[in-house]
């Protein structure tokens, strides 16, 4: 295998990398330069914008119906948190264009306050890529990726949707690109009264459930010289969520958040060398109102200044060296939480060595050391191998040691913050078996994760809650997925079915972790004939314990929810569609006592200019 082939493999979804006669490479620039390398050794599920539009309500719905992630949501559109492979929300990393955007305060991503329409590609990955994406990426990662195209001229689109419970989603996009320059902007506004009722579930009414989100996203890239490109992307998100209450007498509360994310990238590519320098700024602001008609009662501001250099070099056609250096300043200031002007310097150095033994066999070994101010952290290690055993069988192995360091709240909350906390440390292993027969791709991935020093907030003998390192958790299970796509004349059929079995046990009590279903199934089937498209999607969630002692009577009962939609495209520009969600009127909860809506509808219009 010569170096060009290795490079093509490595940068296969990488646009500005043009050399020799390899003009066949798709000219799409992806901001997260590591994504294509991750895909060499890990299974990454891609959710395209047209798939995401099936669940346009919020990111929770997208992940629930189109991935193996369990999403716990306190009512539609409210507080929501993810769980991969039986791990916790803090052990899931949300990565925006290669930058971890989990809240510095909570250590987790607030799923419904992450824009569900601002990305060009949503990618979901189970298991660790801690060496690349840092602390917290133990259970899995959700990537919100943007891309830019070249030489496409002027493009614009509009999506507008009206749905049940006074819900409106709107998205406009415009892009312009020539051979050297590309620019894109998008704006999204979603609003909902969200006043749904589920009489069958203890006469539930989603009182005080309204929300509104606005998101703007700008991106541009310019090829300044041969082999050099400068790119920029910024995102501004503004969200208001009211938190549902169970009684009219209860004090109504709400939460507001404003986030800014900006990234500047300089790419330098030659045939052997590829260097990406990134400077980023991310800012999170949030305010909690313990009474919607009073001023804010608590809140915080977090600011992260990030410099990152990613150096990739082919020593020879078989050996590739990747060195990633990163420096961050994390600043946090709380309002009423007692967190005052924290500033933490975080540095890290990671090395990845890739060996392309043959066209069918490759390995990657990684090591990373974080330097967190005033805090000792373990060394992260990873090893991956990928082997094409036969044309129809691919074997992929991953082993890693990684960790999550405590959040600002864990360390500094007053009273209770505990500076003595150790990071949660995890060892994991998975083995993906992929079979491809007659266009059907079947993947079976057994995995094992063992996490020690789980951080838990418990009442202290002083009368307040304080986080301490507690039990160990062992998670193991099986992820399986079937993908099929077939085009025949004017017909197109695409199917994606997934099933996961998750056993995640607190080793102190030997009981299943809370809110980890043993069984989850999801499936999406799309069929297109000429200008008409239909889809069905279904999700089965097995018995889910809501307490720490496997109490059956308090567990969430199994449920199966099915959605469907139809659309027609006219004059190649205008698409009109309708959706019916929860067609069988299933009564279901992902968080105890907070049922999600019964059957509901939407109509939408999509115009491509």
């Amino acid at each position: 295998m010569d170096i060009k082939k290795s490079l093509v493999l490595l940068f296969s979804s990488y646009g500005c990398f043009l050399f020799g006669q390899e003009t066949a490479i798709d000219t799409v620039y992806v901001f997260d330069n590591q994504m294509s390398k991750v895909k060499l050794f890990h299974k990454v599920s891609t959710i395209r914008p047209e798939d995401a539009q099936k669940n346009s309500t919020n990111l929770s719905e997208i992940l629930r119906f189109q991935s193996q992630v369990y999403i716990k949501e306190n009512g539609r559109g409210a507080v929501s948190s993810p769980s991969f492979r039986g791990t916790t929300a803090q052990q899931t990393a949300f990565v925006w264009n290669g930058i971890n955007i989990n809240s510095q305060f909570l250590g987790q991503g607030d799923v419904n306050n992450i824009p569900s329409m601002g990305f060009d590609r949503l990618e979901v990955k189970s298991g660790s890529v801690g060496v690349v994406y840092g602390s917290g990426a133990i259970g899995g990662t959700v990537h919100l990726n943007n891309s830019l195209e070249f030489n496409k001229g002027l493009q614009a689109s509009l999506f507008s949707e009206a749905a049940s419970f006074g819900t409106y989603n709107n998205l406009v996009k415009a892009a312009y690109s020539d051979r050297k320059f590309s620019f894109k902007l998008s704006g999204n506004y979603s609003v909902s009264k969200n006043d749904y009722a589920v009489e069958e579930s203890r006469n539930y009414i989603n009182r005080n459930g309204e929300y509104a989100n606005t998101n703007f996203n700008f991106a541009a890239a310019y090829k300044i010289a041969p082999h050099h490109q400068v790119s920029w992307i910024s995102e501004f998100f503004n969200g208001t969520q009211h938190f549902p209450v169970f009684f009219d007498s209860q004090t109504k509360t709400k939460y507001e958040t404003q986030n800014v994310r900006s990234l500047l990238v300089w790419d330098w590519n030659t045939s052997k060398l590829n260097n990406v320098f990134r400077a980023a700024y991310t800012e999170e602001n949030f305010q909690y109102f313990d009474n919607i008609s009073h001023p804010k009662s608590s809140g915080g501001t977090g600011k992260n200044y990030i410099l990152k250099n990613d150096f990739n070099y082919f020593l020879n056609p078989k050996w590739n060296l990747n060195i990633i250096g990163e420096f961050q300043v994390n600043k946090g200031e709380g309002y009423i939480s007692g967190i005052k002007n924290i500033s933490r310097d975080v540095g890290s150095l990671a090395g990845l060595l890739r060996y392309f033994a043959t066209g069918d066999l490759r390995f990657e070994a990684g090591i990373k050391k974080d330097f967190v101010e005033g805090y000792s952290t373990p060394v992260l290690l990873s090893f991956s191998g990928n082997l094409n055993v036969a044309k129809w069988y691919n074997l992929n192995l991953n082993a890693a040691k990684n960790f999550r360091y405590p959040s600002f709240n864990d360390l500094y909350w007053q009273p209770g913050g505990n500076m003595e906390l150790r990071p949660e440390t995890a060892y994991q292993f998975d083995l993906k078996n992929q079979f491809t027969v007659a266009g059907v791709k079947l993947m079976l991935t057994p995995y094992y994760i063992r996490t020690t020093d789980m951080i838990t907030w418990l009442p202290s003998n002083m009368g307040y809650y304080s986080p301490i390192n507690t039990y160990k958790v062992q998670s193991y299970g099986l992820e399986s997925q079937i993908e099929y796509e077939k085009t025949y004349g004017r017909h197109m059929l695409r199917a994606n079915l997934g099933y996961s079995y998750t056993k995640s046990v607190n080793l102190e009590t030997d009981k299943q972790m809370r809110y980890v279903p043993l069984h989850k199934f999801f499936g999406n089937i799309d069929y297109r004939y000429s200008f008409l498209k239909v889809y069905v999607q279904g999700m089965y969630n097995g018995l889910t314990y809501t307490d720490s002692e496997e109490k059956r009577s308090d567990a969430l009962q199994p449920y199966f929810v099915m959605n469907t939609g139809i659309s027609g495209t006219f004059l190649k520009k205008y698409t009109i569609g309708g959706k019916v969600n929860n067609i069988f009127n299933e009564i279901y909860e992902t968080m105890a006592y907070y049922p999600l809506p019964k059957r509901n509808y939407s109509v939408y219009l999509n115009i491509n200019f």
């Binding site: 203890r202 169970f246 069988y393 418990l458 002083m462 307040y464 079995y501 299943q512 002692e549 968080m591």
Partner: protein
């Protein structure tokens, strides 16, 4: 390795994962609809999930029923944070902190009679005098008040505001006695706790105005509990060196002090059959209310308990609840209050915080 071997490995491991399944049985308690001659147990529930419920155990500890509010009220949810229950006549008053309401139920059938919401803002505790009841409201911020309601029609009468706190409230000697000071924490590690002050406020129920503000000695101790017994109010305070019990004459505001020099950090005071019972450092102590020195040994030394929460002594039996991690059901243990022997234990609901004689 041959492909077939790898294949069978993959499938075998899949099968292995699938058979590891637990099958604990769903136990349905015998339903009962008469809650006389027993103990009413309050399960506070989660802070964000409406898991508050009430349990009942018969006096002979033979019959336990959990979830008696929902069972007798069409599975209606009670809410989150059931702070306390008060009893008057045939009714029980369930003070619901987060939902800002009081559910009034028949104390023997637990059927709902009325719901009170007027002027409630984080209600905490309840006491009764004559034809009125008194509810403290405390949001640990701007709200520090006691509300007065008319018992016959549940109409709101008035509020009395306090300077720093409004927590426990009892009726003693015909007066309403309110805990008007509590705890605050330092803003830096190790977050040392301090008293906000040392006041107990006495309200004259005929005028519904403050008759006396009792300032207990400033020993640096924090007020931990307030109970009523035989016409007097008893206040427990403690710090890291000692604990104090004050017996207050509610007519004059005069008090007598018992100093427990050898037992610091005492918490949760109860009185039964002329004996004090309290908890300190995972030990339960008892002493005669007339004794002047601290007991030399504990009645019960608790082991294997994560979060000691509910605590009471009723008719010679000591009830304690381990709230564990506050997400699983609490475990209640019942001891003989005279010799400290364990009588029985059972599971109740989430965050069991109180035991009441019915």
């Amino acid at each position: 390795m041959k492909i077939r071997k790898i294949l069978s490995l993959a499938f075998a491991s899949a099968l292995l994962f699938n058979i590891a399944c637990s099958d604990d049985e769903f136990v349905m308690e015998t339903p009962k609809t008469d809650y006389t001659n027993g103990i009413i147990i309050t399960n506070e529930g989660g802070f964000t999930t409406p898991t508050s419920e009430v349990s009942y155990v018969s006096s002979d500890l033979m019959l336990l029923q959990n979830g008696i509010y929902g069972a007798n009220n069409n599975k209606e949810i009670l809410g989150n944070v059931l702070q306390t229950i008060g009893f008057k006549g045939n009714n029980a008053y369930l003070v619901m902190n987060t939902p800002n309401k009081i559910e009034i139920v028949d104390r023997y059938t637990f059927k709902k009679q009325a719901t009170v919401t007027a002027n409630l803002d984080n209600p905490r505790y309840i006491a009764y005098s004559g034809n009125q009841y008194y509810v403290t409201n405390n949001n640990f911020g701007s709200v520090k008040k006691i509300n007065v309601y008319n018992s016959s029609d549940n109409t709101f009468v008035k509020s009395i505001n306090f300077d720093r706190y409004a927590e426990k409230v009892v009726e003693a000697g015909g007066n309403i006695v309110v805990q008007t000071d509590g705890v605050y924490y330092d803003s830096a590690p190790p977050y040392a706790s301090h008293p906000t002050g040392n006041t107990i406020t006495i309200i004259n129920p005929s005028s519904n105005s403050v008759s006396t503000t009792v300032s207990l000695p400033n020993t640096g101790a924090i007020i931990k509990d307030l109970v009523s017994y035989n016409g007097s109010a008893y206040v427990l305070t403690s710090n890291s060196t000692a604990s104090y019990i004050y017996k207050i004459n509610t007519a004059t505001g005069a008090y007598q002090t018992t100093t427990l020099t050898t037992i610091p950090q005492a918490d949760k005071l109860k009185i039964d059959s002329d004996k004090f019972y309290f908890v300190a450092n995972s030990k339960i102590y008892s002493m005669n209310i007339t004794a002047t020195t601290a007991p030399s040994s504990a009645l019960v030394t608790l082991t294997g308990i994560t979060s000691l929460y509910g605590f009471n002594v009723i008719d010679g039996k000591l009830y304690i609840a381990d709230a564990k991690d506050f997400t699983a059901d609490s475990k209640v243990s019942v001891y003989n209050a005279n010799n400290g022997s364990l009588l029985t234990s059972f599971n109740t609901g989430i965050a069991t915080n109180g035991f009441y004689k019915n």
